[in-house]
């Protein structure tokens, strides 16, 4: 356990650092509200005249959308650390080698802290107000306390999976040397398969099959549907096991890929 200490220190420092940007967080909250309203209205319009029963009720969907907005920092792949990109493209990566700690773990805790601090600042005001909105827009509470606990576990595991995925973006920058390009391609694909564009239950069934094979839906779609009770508790536990397996696979693969690119790294000048 002793070897974890520096990473936890990094996590704490970054967390405190991220909490300083309160004005940015406030602006973020306002923006997220606007998006939330727009999405809710679009789906209300879609549901208004649909005769057939949809696989997810409007009420569950509204909750789903608000959760998306409040935990945006947990699920968006484009949420990035420009410092790390600069390290790679400018060649300052050489300094990172001098540190007596694993770079993969170091970056992982950095990225984790960044997302945590951003979400902690933003999620509570959004969740609080979303629960008080007029009926049509209101976010519902989870049906039982067990569901809520499962949601918390799923959300945290989802975040860990997401950071593991985002590490691959940074690894790919070693090869492409184009941070924005890598980010864009990863971001668009990841977000689509995480149900950010169309909620997963509303996708056609052939697409859902593809979504369930990939890890992206575990980060956003899965915890949010656990929350509203759309995924029953029994299945939720099964899903959490899958999350754990994916997390292990992604971290191991990430470490292997990372050490591969590090072997070939060309320090770009000085």
């Amino acid at each position: 356990m002793k070897s974890m200490k520096p990473y936890i220190a990094v996590l704490r420092l970054r967390l405190l650092n991220g909490m300083q940007y309160r004005a940015a967080a406030f602006a973020g909250v306002a923006t997220q509200f606007f998006w939330g309203f727009i999405y809710v209205m679009i789906f209300q319009a879609f549901y208004a005249q649909s005769q057939t029963n949809q696989p997810i009720s409007l009420e569950e969907l509204v909750t789903y959308l608000w959760l998306q907005q409040s935990f945006l920092a947990f699920i968006m792949l484009w949420f990035r650390d420009n410092e790390l990109f600069d390290l790679i493209t400018s060649g300052n990566i050489a300094y990172e080698w001098c540190r007596p700690i694993g770079i993969y773990e170091f970056w992982y805790s950095k990225l984790l802290a960044q997302r945590l601090s951003s979400a902690l600042l933003r999620c509570f005001p959004i969740l609080f107000i979303a629960c008080l909105l007029p009926q049509a827009y209101r976010m519902t509470l989870p049906p039982t306390i067990q569901t809520f606990l499962l949601f918390c576990i799923a959300l945290i595991l989802g975040l860990l999976v997401l950071v593991a995925i985002s590490m691959f973006i940074y690894i790919s920058v070693f090869i492409t040397l184009s941070p924005m390009g890598s980010l864009l391609v990863f971001g668009v694909i990841g977000e689509f398969f995480a149900g950010m564009v169309v909620p997963v239950p509303l996708m056609p069934s052939w697409l859902q099959k593809i979504v369930y094979i990939m890890p992206f839906h575990l980060t956003a779609d899965f915890p949010f549907r656990v929350y509203s009770g759309h995924i029953p508790n029994g299945d939720a536990i099964q899903g959490i096991v899958i999350q754990l397996l994916w997390l292990i696979v992604l971290v191991v693969l990430g470490k292997v890929a990372f050490s591969q690119v590090m072997k070939k790294v060309i320090v770009q000048g000085g």
Partner: protein
């Protein structure tokens, strides 16, 4: 104008120095609206219609707004990145040159990678028009072009307003994204599917309604009376640019250098 084209050629050359980056970005820019469009398609596959609009009608709306957005991001990118110019104090350099600040900022950046986005919206537009039974005539064609032009003017106007704010705040404001990205996202659908207050705000304050809803009624032959009025509404978007420019000039006059 000649100066502006010189700027463009220079920027194009510099961006082509990083070829992998250029292509990756272009592909990415193609993918972004593509995933949004795929989302639209799947939603219509499930629901069939939205408040009486069918898929191709909304696709037309989608294509026009995305095309306008891509074009204005191409051209007015300089205003989008303006905060860095003010924060670094480099805006002083523009002020001493014997040209208007407007054209210099406009020419300071040009995103050629937005071509990907543009291409995508052109394809969607073609597809939508092909599947809609509109009896085309000259007036309708002009209306379509006006809609796109009007959209470009509105987005550019918002970029300029956001840039002007930087004169006072130094920092760029994330909240402006509500009107650019948010406006784009919202205007993908005909405006009447939203609640009244949203519709009103985006018709009379920021005239997105005059790009995607009112002239669309005319194009689809849904406007019963005063057809000519519906046809001319895109002009509102062009008018929107005028106060934005005035605010810009006002901002330039009140500019205080950060001195760094």
């Amino acid at each position: 104008m000649k100066l502006y084209f010189n700027y463009l050629i220079l920027l194009f050359k510099s961006q082509m120095q990083y070829k992998t980056s250029f292509w990756l970005l272009s592909i990415g820019q193609f993918l972004v609206p593509f995933s949004a469009f795929a989302g639209l398609y799947f939603l219509f596959e499930r629901f069939g219609q939205i408040k009486g609009w069918d898929f191709y009608e909304v696709a037309l709306c989608f294509a026009i707004i995305h095309m306008a957005f891509a074009l204005s991001e191409c051209f007015a990118r300089g205003f989008d990145n303006f905060s860095s110019l003010v924060a670094s104090g480099n805006f002083d350099r523009l002020l001493v040159r014997p040209r208007t600040t407007f054209i210099q900022v406009l020419g300071s950046k040009f995103e050629f990678t937005r071509v990907g986005r543009l291409l995508q919206s052109v394809i969607v537009l073609g597809w939508a028009v092909n599947n809609l039974s509109i009896d085309w005539n000259l007036i309708k064609l002009v209306t379509l072009l006006l809609m796109i032009l009007s959209g470009v003017c509105i987005f550019t106007g918002i970029f300029i307003l956001a840039a002007t704010l930087c004169f006072w705040t130094i920092q760029g404001l994330e909240i402006v994204n509500i009107f650019t990205d948010g406006g784009r996202e919202m205007a993908q659908y005909p405006l009447n599917i939203y609640q009244k207050w949203v519709t009103r705000f985006f018709t009379f304050v920021i005239p997105f309604g005059s790009v995607n809803y009112l002239p669309l009624l005319f194009l689809l032959g849904r406007a019963r009376e005063h057809e000519i009025l519906y046809m001319l509404t895109p002009l509102m978007g062009i008018v929107f640019l005028i106060p934005c420019l005035l605010v810009w000039l006002f901002g330039v006059r009140h500019y205080q250098s950060t001195g760094s």
